[in-house]
């Protein structure tokens, strides 16, 4: 059963009396107990898409079209009270920066039980008891003492564990994690990701993991959606995507990262140019100005999706001989 399905989502921002489209077409789906990675660089629209699912888009931003189906219900058509009821309970979010996403003047206890009191209607004692269990579950030692502390008294890794505990507190079905470990050191990153993926598996929670790190995707995700310039350009299982990347952008990304598992002198093949400016009109495929395989049609028409064996790609030249391409992965 599909837990979350995002269909043809478009997000606009109000600007100079008109609107400017930031996300053109996001679509993907997540099942219970599954981790889907949404990969892309800054400005690709991956975070906005997650915020739209949470109904947390900021001032001036709005969903222009498309559907967000949660358990079969279109969230974009729900009245605000019903969406509020879902947010933080059935659908939870983990943000990138635990320093700025926790309230610095409230104790850990206050922030942990707030949601449970509100959404699960627990009384203070019951919420506190569960808060202690949750802190223990996310690997925080001495939970009694930590409950009375404030965010600045915790390390970055511990703050992120508290964020995870808050996300888990109301027994969600779906967790959106937006770059949950980008601000953390690599050994702490490994601890936090191992923890989240174990918890999601144990509790049957579906997770949308937003990241730019291709190693993290390979380790923790079963399926991947690659976003570029506000569009999902490729969708596949993690194994398919890495074994046989179809979109020139995906191939370019994979050829750009230095890897510990390849010889040190393996050359990096960066993608030339820079990601598109969302405020500038661009016809056709949004990757065409940087694409080594671009042909005439790429600049004129947005490519349709083609699908083979569950591997979906939006490229006019998908299936063309990749070895002719400059940036191809060896």
């Amino acid at each position: 059963m599909t837990l979350l399905r995002v269909e043809n989502l478009a997000i606009d921002v109000a600007r100079d009396g008109g609107t400017c489209r930031l996300v053109h077409d996001a679509h993907f789906s997540v099942d219970r107990g599954e981790t889907l990675a949404v990969v892309g660089e800054s400005g690709s629209g991956k975070s906005l898409t997650a915020l739209a699912v949470m109904d947390l888009l900021g001032e001036g931003l709005s969903v222009a079209s498309g559907k967000i189906l949660y358990d079969g219900t279109d969230l974009t058509a729900l009245p605000p009270q019903e969406r509020n009821a879902l947010r933080g309970s059935k659908i939870a979010m983990i943000f990138q920066e635990p320093m700025t996403s926790l309230n610095p003047v409230r104790s850990i206890e206050h922030q942990l039980i707030e949601g449970m009191r509100l959404k699960l209607r627990l009384n203070r004692q019951a919420a506190r008891a569960r808060a202690l269990e949750l802190l223990a579950e996310v690997g925080i030692s001495d939970p009694e003492r930590r409950l009375n502390q404030y965010p600045h008294q915790l390390s970055g890794g511990m703050r992120q564990r508290v964020m995870i505990a808050i996300a888990l507190s109301c027994e969600p079905d779906l967790i959106l994690a937006d770059e949950p470990t980008t601000a953390l050191d690599v050994t702490i990153q490994a601890q936090i990701l191992a923890l989240t993926s174990r918890l999601c598996r144990d509790h049957g929670i579906g997770m949308v993991l937003i990241t730019h790190n291709l190693g993290i995707v390979a380790r923790y995700a079963q399926n991947v959606a690659v976003m570029y310039g506000g569009r999902v350009v490729e969708r596949a299982s993690a194994r398919q995507l890495y074994r046989d990347p179809q979109h020139p952008y995906t191939r370019g990304l994979l050829a750009s990262v230095p890897r510990l598992d390849l010889p040190r002198d393996t050359p990096l093949r960066p993608i030339p140019g820079a990601p598109p400016d969302a405020t500038v009109e661009l016809t056709g495929c949004r990757f065409h100005p940087r694409c080594p395989m671009a042909t005439e049609i790429c600049a004129q028409k947005v490519p349709d999706f083609s699908m083979t064996d569950g591997h979906e790609v939006a490229c006019w030249n998908a299936g063309a001989d990749a070895s002719k391409e400059e940036g191809a992965v060896a």
């Binding site: 660089e41 800054s42 390390s155 970055g156 890794g157 511990m158 050191d185 690599v186 050994t187 702490i188 990153q189 490994a190 601890q191 191992a194 730019h212 790190n213 291709l214 190693g215 993290i216 995707v217 390979a218 380790r219 923790y220 993690a238 194994r239 890495y242 074994r243 370019g252 990304l253 994979l254 050829a255 750009s256 990262v257 230095p258 890897r259 510990l260 598992d261 040190r264 050359p267 990096l268 093949r269 960066p270 993608i271 030339p272 820079a274 990601p275």
Partner: protein, 332 residues
């Protein structure tokens, strides 16, 4: 100096920061940010310093740049002790050593055009007459892959990658021998990061530059650097040429760092069982006894808790500070 002299030689470097408290700002303690670090960088090569936040890698860089004072130890540049340099020699030194910083947003003055940012050091050091400055800026932009019109742009008009190119052009303006890159590619997107890494490597080949490269991304540091030092809580845990260091690490901390990096290969990653390193880095104001790594180390013995392991060669050119290093890795 002869080419056999390393361009940079750091010996037993210590940098301490006082912890001050109260109204009178009494010194109540001391943080040993860098605690006896030594390394050499031969001319034309790259040396990487890796480690987690608070390990002292940036403080080492700042000491080399003379932005913080060394509490003890010596830093020799081209054979000369920089602590003993007089003002003219120090000024010369400052032009031979340049820096590229992490954040291309905060390391460029937002009120200056790119042309002024790049030409400022030329003017300060009077390296070029005013009439030649414009041509020199164009040349520097060109080396860094930017068209001449960028001289008129301001930092906010450029992308992160372009800004970092400007930062590199500014460093190159002095025609330096050593460039200290402090997390110079960390803030960039993957595809842009690869462009800047390639630029740094090309410049090194063409201009014979020497790099001290500070980073936390192991795969980036391995790619760029000939030699790598791994720091933990102000001490060097291991130092070796890149290939043996990554292929056959001799310190359990290095091993844990490498294990923690996921590779972009699902077949390999999803079949691999890793045991993440437990615990967190202790406060440098209150470090553990003996080997600083012992509270997190899987191989810990009683000796590790009481005695500091020396940084000794385990193989020619491969140094490790671990009592148990012989046990960690059976010799091949």
């Amino acid at each position: 100096m002869s080419s056999a002299t390393p361009l940079l030689e750091v010996e037993n470097l210590e940098v301490n920061f006082a912890i001050k408290k109260g109204l009178m700002q009494r010194t109540v303690g001391v943080v040993r940010a860098v605690n006896g670090v030594s390394f050499k960088i031969p001319r034309g090569t790259s040396f990487g310093l890796v480690g987690e936040s608070g390990c002292g890698k940036t403080t080492v860089a700042r000491a080399v740049l003379q932005l913080v004072e060394a509490s003890a130890g010596t830093i020799r540049f081209d054979g000369q002790d920089i602590a003993k340099m007089d003002a003219p020699a120090l000024k010369k030194f400052r032009s031979r050593v340049q820096a590229v910083f992490q954040d291309p947003f905060s390391s460029l003055n937002p009120r200056m055009s790119t042309g002024r940012i790049i030409s400022e050091p030329l003017r300060v050091h009077r390296l070029k007459p005013e009439s030649e400055i414009k041509a020199e800026v164009t040349r520097l932009l060109d080396i860094c892959g930017l068209p001449a019109r960028f001289a008129d742009l301001y930092p906010h008009e450029m992308s992160g990658g372009q800004r970092q190119r400007v930062g590199i052009a500014r460093a190159l303006a002095m025609n330096p021998e050593l460039i200290v890159c402090d997390e110079a590619v960390s803030a960039l997107d993957v595809s842009i990061q690869a462009q800047i890494i390639n630029l740094l490597e090309d410049l090194q080949k063409e201009l014979g530059l020497t790099y001290l490269f500070i980073g936390h991304d192991l795969s980036v540091v391995r790619h760029i650097c000939d030699q790598v030092g791994v720091m933990y809580l102000g001490r060097m845990a291991e130092a070796a040429p890149s290939d043996p260091l990554f292929a056959k690490p001799r310190h359990p901390y290095t091993q844990a760092l490498i294990d923690a990096v996921p590779n972009p290969d699902p077949d390999y990653e999803q079949g691999r069982e890793i045991v993440p390193l437990e615990g967190e880095v202790p406060s440098p104001a209150n470090p553990p006894s003996g080997c600083f790594f012992h509270p997190r180390c899987p191989l810990v013995t009683d000796r590790c808790r009481s005695e500091v392991p020396p940084l000794d060669p385990v193989e020619p050119g491969h140094l490790a500070a671990c009592w148990e290093t012989g046990i960690t890795v059976p010799s091949a």
